[in-house]
C-alpha cells in the first residue's frame, strides 16, 4: 500500500512542482548576485537634506544612487571621482574653484548631467540667493520655502557670491568669501533637477523623451536666472514633499528617484525593505568590477535579531552596534568573516572651568578656574588629580579591547593612534604627565595632590565630591566605565557622584551643576581646523578659556589649506596648552565590528558612508 501511496504522492508533487516552477526560480549552481544589507531605521525619503528625513537608511540608499566629484575611501582620504568630473582651484584670493562635469555623464533616464544639475543645492543653501529671489532666508529656519539643513549652514556663510555657469553649461565656478581649507566638503553635488521640475508640473513617471527632460532642465535654469519667485516657490513645495516616499505602489512617482549612481530603487516595502537594482546607464563613477546586481536593505533595529539573521543567512552584512559579546559571537560564527575595527568616534573626559558660554547659572564647583591665584592653583591641582586617577588603562583593557584587541589608550586630543602624525604629536603634547608610571603610581600622585588641599583625604576617605555627567544608564559601556572610574577615583580620595540620568539628553550638557563630563565626539569629516572648532571659548562646553594661546595657533588653520607639518605643529601646541591646564583627556577610539558573509568579497569599511562607498567592488564568490 505504501508503494502505491508514495507513487501517488510523487506524482502529485511532481505535478505541483511543475505548476509552481513558474512562480519560483529554482536554486542554481550559479553564484548569488543579491546582497542583503541591514539598517536600524526604515526608509522614508529620497530627500535627506530635511531635518526630519536625515536618517541613516535614507543616506545609505542615496549613496547607492548618487555620485559626485569625490568620495571618502576606507583610509578616510578624499578620492577625486574623475569618472564624474574634475575640479580645481583657479584662484587663491578669493578662493575660486572650477568644477567641470565630464561630458557624456547621464542620469538613469538618459538625460545628460550638466552644471545646471549642480545649482539646486546652491539655490537652497545660499542665503544671498534665497533673499534675492524672495524665497526666504535659510539662516532663519521656518522662513524658507525650501526645507533643508543645508550643509548645516556653513555653505551659506562661505559662499555669498553667485556661482558662474559656463557657456557650454558643463562647468560651475564657485567663489568662497573666506579662505576655506576644507573647501571640498562644500562642493555641491548633482541633483536631477529635471525630475523636480517635471514633478512640480504634475508629471508622472520617468520619460526617456530627451526633449521633455532637456526643456525641464532649461525651465529650472531660466527660473534660477530670472529669480522667478513664484515658480521657485512651487519647486520648493515639491522639494519638501515629493521625495517623501515610504513605499512603492501604483501611486508612486518614479521621477523622485532618478539616479546617477550604480543602483536605482526598484521596490520599497514600507517599514521593511528597499530593493535596488543596477542602473544600466551608470557612468558617473568607477566601473563595476563585482557581480552584485541587486541590493536589498532590510530594517532591523534589534542587534541580537540582526546578528541571528546574519547567522541564518537572511542578511549578508551586519553593521550594527558592537559590544564585546556581539564581537566574539561574530568572530566565532561559521561562514562569517569580520572586518573593521575602528569607528570614527572617540570617548573623552572634559572638566569644567567656568560657566559655559550662553549658560545662565554660574559654575561654582571644585574645578572652577577663578578667584585668587591660590584658588586657581588649587583647582588646577584637583583637575590634574582627577585626570591622573581616571583609570584609562583599565577601561581600555576591560571595555574596549574585548571588542577590538588593537584599541589603545588615546593620548592625543585630535589625532587617532592610527594616524601617522600621532606619535610625534604625543611626544610633544604634554600627555606624558598623565601617562608616566603605572596607574598605581599615578593614583598615588593624584592622592598627594588631593591631600595638599584636603589633608584628611586618603584611599578610604574622600577629600571632595565631583558631580559627573555621563549619559543614560542604558548605555552599558558607559555604565561599566563609570563603575571602574568610581572605584579608581576613590583610591585617590575623590568621590565620584555619577548616578547617570535617564533624562540625560534633556539635561543640558552645559549645565553648571556638573564638574565634568564624559561623552564621545564623532569625526564625520577630515578638517585641519578641527582643533579650533571646539576648544576656544564661546565654542567649548566647559567654560575653558585658552584663547590667549590657542587663538593665534588656530588662526592660520582656519584661514586656508596649510602644509601638514604646520597643522601638526600647531595642533600639538594647542594640545600641550590643554593638557597643561588639565582640560581633559581622550580615553580611546570607539571600536566597531562588521560581520560579512564569507562568500562576499569587496566589502571594506569606509569613512563615510561606511559600507556602501565602494559598491562597484562587491562580489559574490559563491
Amino acid at each position: 500500500m505504501f508503494k502505491k501511496t508514495t507513487a501517488r504522492i510523487l506524482l502529485g508533487t511532481v505535478a505541483a512542482a511543475a505548476l509552481i516552477g513558474s512562480a519560483l526560480v529554482p536554486a542554481q549552481a550559479a553564484t548569488r548576485d543579491t546582497i542583503v544589507l541591514q539598517e536600524n531605521n526604515f526608509f522614508g525619503s529620497f530627500n535627506t537634506t530635511k531635518k526630519t528625513t536625515n536618517v541613516v537608511i535614507n543616506s545609505t540608499v542615496n549613496s547607492l544612487m548618487g555620485m559626485g566629484f569625490w568620495y571618502y575611501n576606507d583610509e578616510a582620504d578624499i578620492v577625486r571621482n574623475t569618472d564624474f568630473g574634475t575640479y580645481s582651484i583657479t584662484s587663491r584670493k578669493p578662493l575660486t574653484v572650477k568644477m567641470t562635469v565630464k561630458p557624456g555623464r547621464v542620469w538613469s533616464d538618459g538625460t545628460p548631467i550638466t552644471a545646471v544639475d549642480l545649482l539646486l543645492s546652491h539655490v537652497i543653501c545660499s542665503p544671498t540667493y534665497s533673499k534675492a529671489a524672495g524665497i526666504g532666508d535659510p539662516s532663519k529656519s521656518g522662513d524658507t520655502a525650501f526645507e533643508s539643513t543645508c550643509y548645516t549652514g556653513t555653505y551659506g556663510k562661505l559662499v555669498t557670491k553667485e556661482p558662474v555657469v559656463s557657456g557650454d553649461r558643463m562647468s560651475l565656478t564657485l567663489t568662497f568669501d573666506s579662505p576655506t581649507p576644507d573647501y571640498q566638503l562644500y562642493l555641491p553635488g548633482p541633483s536631477a533637477v529635471h525630475g523636480l521640475v517635471l514633478m512640480t508640473d504634475g508629471k508622472k513617471g520617468v520619460t526617456t523623451n530627451a526633449s521633455v527632460n532637456r526643456n525641464a532642465k532649461t525651465k529650472f535654469f531660466t527660473a534660477y536666472q530670472n529669480k522667478n519667485t513664484a515658480y521657485l516657490k512651487k519647486l520648493a513645495a515639491c522639494w519638501n514633499t515629493c521625495y517623501d516616499i515610504a513605499e512603492t505602489n501604483e501611486k508612486t512617482n518614479n521621477l523622485a528617484y532618478i539616479s546617477n549612481g550604480g543602483f536605482i530603487v526598484s521596490k520599497i516595502v514600507k517599514n521593511n525593505s528597499v530593493t535596488l537594482v543596477r542602473n544600466t546607464r551608470y557612468n558617473s563613477g568607477p566601473k563595476f568590477t563585482g557581480n552584485v546586481q541587486t541590493v536589498i536593505i532590510r530594517s532591523i533595529d534589534n542587534p541580537t535579531a540582526a546578528l541571528q539573521a546574519l547567522k541564518n543567512k537572511e542578511i549578508d552584512v551586519y553593521s550594527g552596534q558592537a559590544t564585546a559579546d556581539l564581537a566574539s559571537q561574530l568572530r566565532a560564527m561559521p561562514g562569517i568573516r569580520t572586518i573593521g575595527g575602528n569607528a570614527n568616534a572617540w570617548e573623552h573626559v572634559d572638566l569644567r572651568f567656568d560657566t559655559t558660554f550662553g549658560e545662565k547659572d554660574t559654575y561654582k564647583g571644585v574645578f572652577a578656574d577663578k578667584g585668587t591665584a591660590a584658588e586657581k592653583a588649587q583647582a588646577l591641582d584637583l583637575r590634574r588629580a582627577f585626570l591622573l586617577a581616571w583609570p584609562r588603562d583599565e577601561i581600555v583593557e576591560k571595555i574596549y579591547q574585548p571588542i577590538n584587541p588593537n584599541t589603545k589608550v588615546m593620548n592625543s586630543i585630535f589625532y587617532f593612534p592610527e594616524q601617522p602624525a600621532y606619535k610625534s604629536v604625543v611626544a610633544n603634547n604634554g600627555s606624558d604627565y598623565y601617562t608616566e608610571g603605572t596607574q598605581a603610581q599615578r593614583t598615588a600622585r593624584a592622592l598627594a595632590l588631593v591631600q595638599k588641599h584636603y589633608p584628611k583625604a586618603s584611599a578610604t576617605t574622600a577629600g571632595f565630591d565631583v558631580n559627573f555627567n555621563w549619559g543614560t544608564p542604558t548605555n552599558a559601556r558607559r555604565v561599566a566605565t563609570i563603575a571602574l572610574a568610581k572605584a579608581a577615583l576613590a583610591k585617590a580620595g575623590i568621590n565620584l557622584i555619577a548616578p547617570g540620568n535617564t533624562n540625560w539628553n534633556a539635561e543640558p550638557i552645559v549645565s553648571s551643576s556638573y564638574d565634568g563630563q564624559m561623552f564621545a565626539w564623532v569625526k564625520t569629516s577630515i578638517q585641519q581646523s578641527i582643533g579650533c572648532n571646539g576648544y576656544t571659548y564661546e565654542e567649548n562646553l566647559t567654560g575653558y578659556n585658552g584663547d590667549s594661546v590657542i587663538k593665534p595657533l588656530c588662526d592660520p588653520l582656519v584661514e586656508e589649506p596649510q602644509e601638514n607639518s604646520l597643522v601638526i605643529k600647531n595642533l600639538t601646541a594647542i594640545e600641550k596648552k590643554m593638557h597643561d591646564d588639565a582640560y581633559g583627556l581622550s580615553v580611546a577610539r570607539h571600536a566597531n565590528v562588521v560581520g560579512v558573509n564569507e562568500d562576499l568579497d569587496g566589502i571594506r569599511l569606509g569613512f563615510y558612508p561606511q559600507i556602501t562607498w565602494n559598491f562597484w567592488e562587491w562580489k559574490f564568490t559563491k
Binding site: 500500500m1 505504501f2 502505491k4 501511496t5 508514495t6 501517488r8 504522492i9 502529485g12 508533487t13 505541483a16 512542482a17 509552481i20 512562480a23 519560483l24 526560480v25 529554482p26 536554486a27 542554481q28 542583503v36 526604515f42 522614508g44 531635518k51 526630519t52 528625513t53 532663519k140 529656519s141 521656518g142 539643513t149 543645508c150 549652514g153 517623501d244 515610504a246 521596490k267 516595502v269 514600507k270 517599514n271 521593511n272 525593505s273 530593493t275 536589498i296 532590510r298 530594517s299 532591523i300 533595529d301 541580537t304 535579531a305 541571528q308 539573521a309 547567522k311 541564518n312 543567512k313 537572511e314 533624562n503 539628553n505 534633556a506 539635561e507 550638557i509 552645559v510 561623552f519 571646539g534
Partner: protein
C-alpha cells in the same frame, strides 16, 4: 460615559508623557550652528509654545474631527500623518497577535481540561510546571532560543535532511510519554497509550526520513481519504459519541465527499483568484454538511449539523495544508530561499517576487512561525490555569451532580454541561486579552523585526512624539474599552444570576 473616560485618561496620559521628556533634548548636545533655528522650528511644529495641559485641546480638536469623518491625529515628528501610520501598523500587530492568541487558547483550554480531569496526577503536575515555566520566561529570551534551534539549526539540518536515529527515538519517546500520560488512568491504559503513540510516531518519522518527505512533503489522495474518515470518527466521538448513528453517518458522508473533491480542488487551486476559491469551498463544504444532516437526521438536527460541519471544516484545513506541502518543495529549493525556509526576522522575504497565492501564503506563514510559537508558549499558561480552575469549580457544582445522577455518560456531562459553563469566564478573559495587544507586541515586534504598533510605541517614547503616542493610545484605549464593555455584557448575559448595577 465611555467618552468621558477616554477624555480623562487621554488627558492624564498626555500630560504624563509631556512631563516625561523634552522633545528638544537632541538639540541640547548639538554642535550644529543651525541649532537655534531648528529649535525654533521644532517648537513651532509641535506647538511647544502652548503648555501641555492646554496643548492637549489642540490635539483633541483634531481627533474630534472623527465625528465629521475627518479625524486629525496630528503628524509624527518625521512629518507623516499619525492616522496613516496607524492604519499601516494595526494589521501587522493583529496578524502577529491573532494567530498566537487563537493557538494559545485552543492549546491552553485543551490542556486545561485534561489537567482538570486528571487533577493531581503526574500529568497535571508536569503540565502545570511547564505552563508556569513558560509563563516565567521573558519573551526576548524565548525568541533567542527559538531562533537558534528552530530556525538556524533547522535550516542547517535541511541542507542534509536525514533524521538521526537517536532523534527518532527521542521524539517518539516524548510523544509516547505525553499521550500515555493523557490516556493513562491505569497502568494498562498508560502503556497502551505509550506504545501506540510512540510506535506510530517512530514509524512515521522513519518513513518520512526514508522517503525524503521533508523536502517533498504531501499527503496524497489515499492518505487524505483515510485521514478524512478518521477525522469523521474522531469529531463524532468527541461531540456525540460514535454510537450516535445520524452524526456518524453525516460526518462520514462529508468525509467521503471531501475525498472525492480532492482532485477537482487540485485544479481549482491553480486558478487566479484563490480567495474566491477558498470562500467558495467553505460554502460548498457547509452546504454538503447541511445536506448530509438533512438525510441522516430526522430530529435534533442542530448537534448533528455542528458535528458534520466541524468535520467538513477540518477536512478543508487539511486540504489546504496538503496544498501548502506541495508548495513547500519548490519554495525551499528556490534561489530566493536556498534551503533556509525558516526565517528569524521580518514579515516576508524581500527577495521573493511572486504573485502566486500559495507561495505568498507559505512565505507569510513561515515568517509568522517563530513569533507565533513564542507568543503562544508564553500566553497559553494563563488559559491552562484558568480553564483548569474553572472546570474544577464547575465539576463540583450541583447541576453536574444532577446531570450525572440522571445517568448521562461522562462525555456528555463534561462536553455539554461542564465545558460550556467553563467557557463563561474564559470568554471574558479572552476579550480582555485581545485588548492588551500592544503590550504583548511591544517586545515581540522588536525581537522579530516586525513593524506594528509596538514599534511605533517605542518610537513615540524614544522621540517624545506626543502625537504618535496619543494615536497609539487612542487605538488601545478604544480597544480596551470596547473589550471591557463586551466582557461586562457577556458576563451578565451568560450568568443570569448577575445583576449589573444601572449606574449609567
Amino acid at each position: 460615559m465611555l467618552l468621558v473616560i477616554l477624555f480623562g485618561s487621554s488627558y492624564l496620559l498626555y500630560n504624563l508623557q509631556a512631563l516625561s521628556g523634552d522633545p528638544l533634548a537632541e538639540f541640547k548636545t548639538s554642535r550644529d550652528p543651525e541649532v537655534e533655528s531648528q529649535i525654533k522650528a521644532t517648537i513651532e511644529q509641535l506647538r511647544l509654545d502652548v503648555p501641555a495641559p492646554l496643548r492637549y485641546f489642540i490635539w483633541l480638536r483634531g481627533v474630534l474631527g472623527i465625528f465629521i469623518g475627518q479625524p486629525d491625529f496630528g503628524k509624527v515628528r518625521t512629518g507623516e500623518p499619525v492616522g496613516e501610520i496607524l492604519i499601516d501598523a494595526i494589521p501587522v500587530t493583529i496578524r502577529l497577535v491573532f494567530g498566537a492568541t487563537i493557538i494559545a487558547i485552543l492549546l491552553g483550554i485543551t490542556i486545561g481540561v485534561v489537567t482538570a480531569l486528571r487533577q493531581y496526577s503526574r500529568f497535571d503536575y508536569s503540565m502545570t510546571f511547564v505552563a508556569f515555566l513558560m509563563f516565567s520566561l521573558p519573551i526576548f529570551w524565548v525568541a533567542v532560543l527559538l531562533k537558534e534551534f528552530m530556525a538556524i539549526q533547522f535550516n542547517n539540518f535541511l541542507s542534509e535532511p536525514n533524521i538521526p536515529t537517536g532523534w527518532i527515538i527521542g521524539i517518539a519517546g516524548f510523544v509516547a510519554l505525553f499521550f500515555g500520560a493523557i490516556l493513562g488512568r491505569s497502568r494498562r491504559t498508560f502503556w497502551i497509550g505509550f506504545f501506540s503513540a510512540g510506535g506510530f510516531t517512530a514509524l512515521l518519522l522513519a518513513i518520512i526520513d526514508a522517503r525524503g518527505w521533508i523536502l517533498e512533503p504531501g499527503i496524497g489522495p489515499i492518505f487524505f481519504a483515510v485521514m478524512a474518515i478518521l477525522i469523521a470518527f474522531g469529531v463524532t466521538q468527541i461531540s456525540m459519541g460514535v454510537g450516535h448513528k445520524p452524526s456518524l453517518y453525516a460526518s462520514l458522508s462529508v468525509a467521503v465527499a471531501g475525498a472525492i473533491t480532492y482532485f477537482p480542488m487540485q485544479s481549482l487551486f491553480k486558478r487566479e483568484s484563490q480567495v474566491t476559491v477558498l470562500l467558495g469551498g467553505l460554502v460548498v463544504a457547509l452546504v454538503i454538511a447541511g445536506i448530509a444532516t438533512m438525510i441522516f437526521a430526522r430530529i435534533d438536527r442542530g448537534p448533528v449539523y455542528r458535528t458534520s460541519s466541524i468535520t467538513a471544516f477540518i477536512i478543508g484545513i487539511i486540504m489546504i495544508v496538503d496544498k501548502l506541502m506541495q508548495t513547500w518543495g519548490p519554495y525551499v529549493s528556490s534561489g530566493d530561499v536556498q534551503y533556509r525556509p525558516v526565517p528569524t526576522i521580518g514579515e516576508r522575504n524581500p527577495l521573493i517576487e511572486t504573485t502566486d497565492f500559495w507561495v505568498a501564503l507559505l512565505d507569510t506563514l513561515l515568517h509568522m512561525f517563530l513569533p507565533t510559537i513564542a507568543l503562544t508558549l508564553i500566553g497559553f499558561a494563563g488559559y491552562v490555569r484558568y480553564t483548569r480552575g474553572t472546570l474544577l469549580d464547575v465539576l463540583n457544582q450541583d447541576y453536574i451532580r444532577t446531570a450525572r445522577a440522571k445517568g448521562l455518560n461522562e462525555r456528555t456531562v463534561i462536553m455539554r454541561h461542564a465545558f460550556r459553563n467553563t467557557m463563561i469566564p474564559i470568554v471574558t478573559l479572552l476579550v480582555v486579552d485581545f485588548a492588551s495587544v500592544v503590550g504583548g507586541a511591544l517586545i515581540t515586534e522588536n525581537v522579530f523585526a516586525w513593524r506594528g504598533m509596538g514599534t511605533l510605541f517605542r518610537q513615540a517614547i524614544g522621540t517624545f512624539d506626543l502625537n504618535l503616542l496619543m494615536g497609539i493610545f487612542f487605538v488601545t484605549a478604544t480597544l480596551a474599552l470596547v473589550a471591557n464593555l463586551v466582557a461586562d455584557l457577556l458576563y451578565s448575559a451568560l450568568d443570569p444570576r448577575v445583576r449589573v448595577g444601572s449606574g449609567k
